[in-house]
Symmetry: C2
Amino acid sequence: MRERDVIKFLSEKLPIGDDCAVISLKKTNLLLTTDMLHRQTDLPDGMTPYTMGWRAVAVSLSDIAAMGGRPLGVVIALGAPEFERKFLEELLDGALACCDVCETKLLGGDTDRHSELTIVTTALGEAQKPVMRSGAHPEELVCVTGDLGRTAAALELLKAKEYEQANALLRFTPRLREGQALAPLASSMIDISDGLVRSLYQLGEASQVGFKIDATAVPFALEVEELARTQDELFEMGLFFGEDFELLFTLPQERLLDARRACEFTVIGRVVPKGEGITMQLGPERIVLPDRGYEH
Amino acid sequence: MRERDVIKFLSEKLPIGDDCAVISLKKTNLLLTTDMLHRQTDLPDGMTPYTMGWRAVAVSLSDIAAMGGRPLGVVIALGAPEFERKFLEELLDGALACCDVCETKLLGGDTDRHSELTIVTTALGEAQKPVMRSGAHPEELVCVTGDLGRTAAALELLKAKEYEQANALLRFTPRLREGQALAPLASSMIDISDGLVRSLYQLGEASQVGFKIDATAVPFALEVEELARTQDELFEMGLFFGEDFELLFTLPQERLLDARRACEFTVIGRVVPKGEGITMQLGPERIVLPDRGYEH
C-alpha cells in the first residue's frame, strides 16, 4: 500500500484527520501528537546531532502550533544501534534549546536499541478552541506564514557541503506564537509538513473546498530562489517538497485586518467551491496543481 | 554507552525517573508516556499482528496504570518497510481491542517508511494523585499483582511453535483497574517492565530504600513453573526477564486490609533501610539480588 492509501485506511478506522488528536477536558482541550524521524529519510548525513534534537522537538510542536495550541510539554524517545555520549549530549542540547525557545519543557526521555537511528517525539498541548482542518469556506482568503522551500534548500546545501548554512535552515522555529494569535481568527489551519500543495489537498478534503492560488503571491524562501535554476525547480522546492512547517490557514476576508495585527503572513489565494479543484494562476494560465508531495 | 548509563545520563538532564511524565493542571495531573517496540527485540517471529497491536497499546497503558492513572487516549505510529493491508488491519484490530478492554480510545495513527518494523505508542492519562516511585519507606510491605514470567514463558512457547498459547500470554491486560484502586493506598508503584529485580532497584533508587524479598512468596506464573527445568531457570524467567507488566508497589502495613478489598495481589517482602541492599531470603540463605534485568 502507498502511504496515502495507508492514511486513508487508517482514517476509516480512527478519528484522524488533524495535526493532533484532540481530547476534551472540562475547561480546555488537550492536543496530543507523535512524530517519528529516522535516519534514511529525515536525518540526512551532515545534519548535526544538535539540529536533529532541535528538529525532532520542533516537528511535534509544529503540530501543536497548527491547531492554535499552547505546548504543555514534550517527551522524546531515541532508538539507535549505539549510543555515544557526545552524540547524545548534543542531540539533547538541541532538543532542550528548541523547548526553551518555545517556552515549554522536555519532560521525559527514553532510549532503545534500534538498527536505524530513530527519534520519536510526543508533544502535549492545550487549546480552548483548537483550529481544525475542516473549517474553510469558499470566498475566504488562503494564507501562509513565513516563506517556503527552506528544507529543500537545506538539503541542496548539505549536498554542496555547506553544512553550517544548511543546519541553520533546518532549525526552524515552530510557529506557536502565530498559531495562538491566529486561533480566534482562522477558520482552518494545518502545518505544511508534506509540501504546500499536498497540504492544500488535505485542507480541501477536510473542509470540502477547492483553492485558487496566485503564483506571484507565493513567498519562496530567498535560498530557494537562489538555488533553483528553472521555474520547475522553484516550484518543486517551494510547492511540493515540504518539511517547511509554516502554517497554512484560511481567513474570512473581514478578519484580515485583525489577523495582520496578530502576526505576519502572506495571502496567497482564495478558497473556492470544491468543484473548481485546486489550481494556480500562473500568468495567463490557470494550471491544476497535481496532488502529490513529500511522502515520508 | 550501556542503556543503564544512557538512562542515568538522561536523568541528569531531564526530570525523568517515573513511568510517565507528570504535568500538573489546575485540578488534576496529566500523565504522558511514549514507548517504542521494534522487530528485533520486542516483536519476535510468531507474534501475530493482532498481538503486536494489542501489546503496543498495553505497554503504554501499563505506564499509566503504574502511576494510578485513568487513560484519556492513545495514539499509535507505525514504521515499516512495507505496509500490507491485512497486516495493518489485524494490527489495528489488536490495538483497538486493547483500548476497548481498557475503556479508552485510539485517537490517532500515523505511518512512516522504516527499515525495521517499529511501533510507537503514546498514552495520555490523568491522576488526581499520581503514585510515584519515590514514596517507599522501611517497614512497608512489598507487593505485586498477578504472577511473573509470562512473557519469558511466551517466548519459550514461540520457539516451540506453540503459537496460540504464546500469543494469548503476550496479550496481557494492563493493570489499570488495580492501579487506580491502589492509588490512594500505595506509597510507591512501578510496572515490572524490566524484570522484578530491576524494578526493585529502580524503586529502591527513587525511594532511597532497600528490599528483602521472600522467595517462597513470589508468585511465578504456572507456565513458568512448567517450563523451567531448574531453580535458576525459574528465577531467570520470573525474576529477571521482565516484560511482565504487573504492578510492583509498597504499602504501609496498616493499609493492608483496605488494599485487599481494593484488588488481588501478593505480599512478597518488606522495605528495609537502603544500607541493607536488595536481598532475597531463599531457605536459610539471604542472597543479594544482582542489579540486572532485561535491557531493551
